[in-house]
Symmetry: C2
């Protein structure tokens, strides 16, 4: 390590940790930057794992973005398979077993853990958590030898895994307590086409169904016991809610928020001087509700890592409250949204009004045209849009990005109703579906003059 | 006609005229609304014509949106094949030959004409203008009997026609005076992939080439004489610049602007009381340069028609200056933009700075991923984005819509650099290409802290 430079330590080699380390090194080239990860690899895309299992992507190797050598070349001291066991704030060190490493600035990017259901059989063999690429490679080989799999929880990951396993030809069951798929994120009308698509792909969906226990034989799972009966299986994918991995931060006395995420300010500073945090282990302020949330995307983790890394290295970047554009493919259907849907507006008691319309992705007569349903959730008085949900067609990701940007800047139904749009038969319809939804909303409110 | 109701006359049955008539009738159901068109049809999509010629769309019938009976049903008096020959402002009438029809409110939606080159042979048979669907049906039959066609001018329409005719298997030549394709709209780096794609499809492109004359035999075109030699052909598609069809408005003394378009205010009111205009026959204010422009899309015409129709019927809608998102497929490549590109910024002497990056449309490893080049043109002092150009990938139309909305509201490179984006391997990359371009721009300016 450089004797005279700033000593920066990063804990965690996911999107947040890697971007923090790279940004710190580029902002302060003289600093020594050391990154510890308990795993064998860094700089791969965990979000791609379900699609390799589904054979949409040919192999795990293609998920790697960079080699460990790359980080050595740019001057980052990468310590693989090195688990940080504790943080000492007073001595400004981290412990790796009995060894200690000193820091001037520390960045915590310890990511998430799955919320493990507290039920019998949770420690059986054959329960799989999508996270680490080495485990995924092993799991993928097991998939060749089995026929029946149960996916627990219809979270976004659960839905991706169920679709991909069915696509691979496995008899796939999807079990969830909620009344519809992804009921904590999306509205029922948005999820209905996904439900139908998954069923068409052969997924057997059990909603309103609670998992009571995993049953085993010789230490290996052989069935899932639920409130609606038992499902025999050879494997279980546990795709439950993700919770912040806050253990070492909490033990060091760093402030943890109500969500379980590490509390940070807009510079990704924790409650302790010179200690930063970023990614799935933190909570951030939601732009509409102004309450802290956790569990965002890899893209958010990456951006937060850049802010933490730059500031730890002496920069001055800030991170705004989030509006959370999201999007994915469920079954064969694109869905997405921004911030909260209708269901969550209702649940949180936020005054709201729903503007909805169905438009099309290209000219009505052009091959490949498909329907797009757009719901804009708005404040009934100010007409400010506070959330959106979309399903169908093409361009869902681009529309979600657009809506998040516009909602952040206070756009109203009127702004969207009269927006200009590209019209060209192969790529865009005469009327943009977002504008149609806004116009329908204004019309319903009697505000179309 | 209703005796006591408002008498509204609409001249023109294109997108602007049809939307004006429909909106007027819905805003003032008691009004009598009469629409005159010199053509046999209304309510079809002329923008779809090139794709029927190219056999991308199976037949012309699919381009029709509504039957004439539909308009009778909603109470519009539709007069097909009825050419309005003059407007009398004092008597508040329009003439159809010797007949006169009275109006309380008049809406002019006479559309565009092609700028006919003033060269020998311009009146030969075999020169085709893409406009009227009946002519297109006849022309399409001729295409079955010929082998060689010349498209004059690499305008957006010229490029669509050249690509489609080549796709149909014709020997296709594209001749243009400019130094690159669509040189009045797009930048050379944006058009390069289109050029390559058209060539791969077999189009023979002649740039920097001026058409001197059309040569004929027995009154039919048989060759195009250019500054670079003669090209034998059996047909010519004249896809020159579009100019406002302003004749009857001009003759009636209604104010015409420098572009040839009818001058309107933000309520689509012309210089004469109770006379409105909308669509390709008008000029509107451009949001960035604040100068009037003409020749926008069918989507603009449709929106302007709504404003004119609503206001003629007693409403109070306004139309904002335009920022002109555009997009199309050239060859097999998607291109698009907002407002002006780099070339036009330069030509108009607008201070500007170019931020450019190449991103991807999905995760790097996901099937179907493709490159997207984004150029943001910004004011070097305020960093406000004033234009954009895009090429490649997917989602060009959605990005152009987004950028137009954001540019209209004053978004800066910094706003785009730190935007949130959807990350999901099948539909969106870790980093949004728009954000990458903005970050590259800030970095170039030394404004990345």
């Amino acid at each position: 390590m450089a004797k005279d430079g700033l000593r920066i330590i990063v804990i965690g080699g996911g999107a947040a940790g890697i971007s923090a380390a790279s940004t710190a090194k580029s902002v302060a080239p003289d600093a020594s930057v050391t990154l510890f990860t308990e795993f064998e690899d860094v700089a791969y895309s965990p979000c791609g794992i379900p699609f390799v299992h589904g054979r949409e992507i040919p192999d795990f190797r293609s998920l790697f973005l960079q080699t460990p050598e790359h980080y050595a070349e740019i001057g980052i001291d990468l310590r693989l398979q090195t688990k940080v066991t504790g943080i000492n704030i007073e001595r400004r060190t981290v412990s790796v077993g009995s060894q200690e490493f000193g820091w001037d600035r520390l960045i915590i990017a310890t990511g998430f853990e799955y919320d493990k259901p507290d039920i019998p059989g949770i420690d059986l063999e054959g329960l799989y958590y999508v996270k680490n690429i080495r485990r995924a490679m092993e799991f993928d080989k097991v998939l060749d030898q089995i026929k029946r799999v149960v996916v627990v929880s219809a979270t976004p990951l659960g839905i991706e895994m169920a679709g991909n396993l069915a696509h691979r030809g496995l008899e796939t069951y999807l079990v969830d307590e909620g009344p519809w798929l992804m009921s904590k994120v999306a509205d029922p009308d948005i999820m209905e086409p996904v439900h139908k698509s998954l069923e068409e792909m052969g997924v057997k969906i059990h909603l309103g169904t609670k998992v009571l226990a995993f049953k085993g034989e010789n230490g290996r799972v052989k069935a899932v016991s639920t409130t609606e009966g038992e499902i025999d299986c050879e494997l279980v994918v546990v795709a439950t809610h993700k919770v912040p991995n806050n253990r070492i931060a909490r033990e060091a006395g760093i402030k943890i928020g109500a969500t379980g995420g590490i509390v940070v300010d807009d510079h990704m500073r924790t409650s302790v001087k010179d200690v930063y945090a970023a990614g799935d282990c933190i909570e951030v302020i939601h732009g509409v509700t102004e309450i802290p949330i956790q569990g965002l995307s890899g893209s958010h983790a990456y951006s937060q890592g850049k802010v933490a890394g730059a500031n730890a290295a002496g920069g001055d970047r800030s991170y705004d409250p989030v509006f959370v554009p999201w999007g994915m493919v469920g079954g064969k259907v694109m869905i997405g949204g921004v911030s909260l849907g209708e269901t969550l507006h209702k649940a949180l008691g936020i005054p709201h009004f729903v503007a909805v319309a169905e438009g099309i992705s290209r000219a009505r007569y052009y091959p490949g045209v498909s329907k797009i349903r757009v719901k804009l959730i708005a404040d009934p008085d100010t007409l400010r849009v506070t959330g959106a949900q979309l399903v169908g067609g093409e361009g869902i990701k681009e529309r979600a990005d657009f809506l998040a940007f516009a909602i952040k800047r206070g756009a109203t139904l009127e702004d969207f109703a009269w927006m200009e749009n590209v019209y060209s038969p192969p790529i865009g319809a005469l009327m943009e579906p977002i504008a149609l939804a806004a116009q329908a909303g204004l019309s319903k409110l009697g505000k179309l003059k």
